[in-house]
Amino acid sequence: MIQISEVLETNNMIEKENLDVRTITLGISLLNCITDDLDKLCDNIYNRITATAKDLVKTGEEIEREYGIPIVNKRISVTPIALIGGAACKNPEDYVRIAKVLDKAAHEMGVNFIGGFSALVSKGMTKSDELLIKSIPEALSVTERVCSSVNLGSTKTGLNMDAVRLMGSIIKEAAEKTKENDCIGCAKLVVFCNAPDDNPFMAGAFHGVTEADEIINVGVSGPGVMRKALESVRGTDFGVLADTIKKTAFKITRVGQLVAYEASKRLNIPFGIIDLSLAPTPAIGDSIADIFEEMGLERAGAPGTTAALALLNDQVKKGGVMASSYVGGLSGAFIPVSEDQGMINAVNEGALTLEKLEAMTCVCSVGLDMIAVPGDTSEATLSGVIADEMAIGMVNQKTTAVRIIPVIGKSVGEKVEFGGLLGYAPIMPVNTFSCDAFVNRGGRIPAPIHSFKN
């Protein structure tokens, strides 16, 4: 029988250490909505989403109440829209119409984000992909809850440098179009290398074409719980440290597994995966940077940070896979800057630079996330930063991503405020030496030799 100490431990994690289930994300395939009539397509998409997701928020809230665990977000991901709109959309404005339909459905369902305004162009771009990508800045400026992502490369295909170049200018344009609103458009836009089909986290969630009609994916979190657990093993060796991370990750993931199972049962929608991630929030103590400090680093970014992150990321996975048979998505430690007070402090104090963050992305679960840079950063430089990050993913056979915000009208030393879970970010300096001639070459960077495993 459950002991009082165990009950108190769980409730302390929830009440004092910010343990939560970060998101229940309902993946919905829109493949059966396809038609060449745009009006009909918009109707089909709206009806499909609202019919499938009508009980999502209610069910999430029921589970929250019954188990006493906060479920912070209820979200929807859909099939990449470039695949859905190909026959009906003749220009970028047509895609913007679909974005508005997604936004309307998200409001109607009470979810805070809907992901999948996406294109998968890791090797080449279809006309439809290109139209969607060109519609992204406008789509993100006229909608509130739509999230967009573009997969620019993979270990198997190499990097689509034409698309990398295009995304540099799209990100800049998205910033311009939302400059009155702290360039929020860029916070809802992410580019990937090796994007997973079953990621429940925004802004990069989409419902992959390898998935079933509907699926429930759950993202767990708990940096605060991890930091607290490590407090009890100060000064011990790495074996003890690794073991403590594993055990804590196990506990956190088991809660996610329970919630996923319940949501799946109640909604009568199959369970997909648990994304066993440590995802920080701006709340004090809910920080990956604080975990580094607990591990013995003065600040995130100090020498040793990459090693600390490598250990953390790996042990989180090892503990998590024991807790759930189906793990997927991005799984590991996220290192966004704006969403993590400890990371923000590290940047403000000069401990953490963009280059160090890039090194850390070699061993974290995702990539350069929620990084604000000066508004005058050139399109080519943005493409260069993206290309570097994509190359890390391609060569290391891992997912990498870039969510970067060139803050129009602001420069290094200032900050930008996004609000809510997105937090605020200090503007970080970017290397200003030119990469124009490199990114403007066009074409593809071939897949690395170790991708040929057939």
């Binding site: 029988m1 459950i2 165990e6 009950v7 108190l8 188990y67 809660v255 597994q257 329970l258």
Partner: protein
């Protein structure tokens, strides 16, 4: 349905009596009860079966919360599975 009821707050006379009376009146069967003092705070945990209660989970949870307010304690009703999931393999 097996649930866990936790009562956390400043120790005072009659806390257990008050909670148990409410549970008895609502046909909630207490299976196990334990208590401890942590950092000067009274902590009580009950494992209780609400299967035969005429009230739904949500009704019991909010009424227990109200009783908690009256006796200056935080009373939570949660389904037991979350604790099993976290602490049992």
């Amino acid at each position: 349905m097996k649930t866990v009821i936790t009562v956390v707050g400043k120790d005072s006379v009659g806390i257990i009596a008050k909670v148990c009376t409410y549970l008895a009146n609502n046909k909630v069967n207490i299976l196990n009860i334990s208590q401890t003092i942590v950092d000067g705070f009274f902590n009580m945990m009950m494992i209780a079966d609400i299967e035969n209660s005429p009230k739904e989970f949500d009704g019991l949870a909010s009424e227990l919360e109200q009783i908690g307010d009256e006796i200056h304690c935080v009373i939570k009703l949660q389904r037991e599975e979350i604790f099993d999931a976290m602490h049992r393999i």
